[in-house]
Symmetry: C2
Subunit: 142 residues, 2 copies
């Protein structure tokens, strides 16, 4: 099972917002670059806004990044749109049998292991900032 495409879409959005920061970046223009419906873009913009990463102007339109690129890492984006803080990456079966010695203890045996794996993923995301991504983006684009 795969995670959603919201994370890659978000990063694409942020790169485009930065590359085209001197123009008005609307949800339609992002949708055009990304190849999805503008409403999908607006929904994700709303999550990134919630996280304090972007600002969207109503009426006249346009979205832009409002935090310094060095201060936004990929974990911030991931948490805004994919797995929120305190949420678990791995689903755990709901009804282990408390009358079975294994069922009774399975959470205490596994929970921390699943969390550690999740932490490994998240730490790696935390080490990459939007500034890093933009540096590479400008190299590739030019």
């Amino acid at each position: 099972m795969q995670l959603s495409s919201r994370f890659s879409i978000s990063l694409h959005m942020l790169v485009a917002m930065e590359v085209f920061k001197d123009e008005k970046v609307t949800s339609s223009c992002l949708a055009n670059s990304i190849g999805v419906n503008p409403v999908v873009i607006r929904r994700i913009l709303s999550q990134l806004k919630e996280a304090g990463i972007v600002e969207v102007k109503r009426g006249s339109g346009g979205a832009k990044i409002v935090k310094p690129l060095t201060e936004v890492n990929l974990l911030d984006v991931y948490r805004a749109v994919e797995v929120s803080p305190n949420a678990l990456l791995f689903n755990f079966h709901d009804n282990p049998n408390p009358d079975c010695p294994v069922g009774k203890n399975i959470h205490s045996i596994l929970d921390h292991r699943l969390v550690e794996a999740q932490n490994a993923l998240e730490s790696q995301l935390k080490d990459q900032t939007l500034a890093d991504v933009m540096t590479e983006a400008y190299e590739k684009i030019n």
Copy 2:
């Protein structure tokens, strides 16, 4: 978005198979400990069997682990039931616009970053073996 519960179910199954290895461990008895339908168990057993981790006896019934516990790590299990080798954890949007400078380059900018994050998760899983899990399981159960 969360991954499926197949991973936690698989680990629960393997712990139970080991704890009850002197008895006949059928899909119904696993289903009873885990709290899911026996067919769900058989489907997962079939994936673990495919991966060479377990053997299931037809007719008379019963499943058991066939590899040394020190030689099965959590990544083996994860790959058997959740994200197969070569598959990507993060979904990537299908149609970035090749006529947009960002859309044209987004894969080369992001792909390796997503893979690195996935690798971090998988490396961490690789460091834990079933033997480790069983050591803790016996501690907790007794």
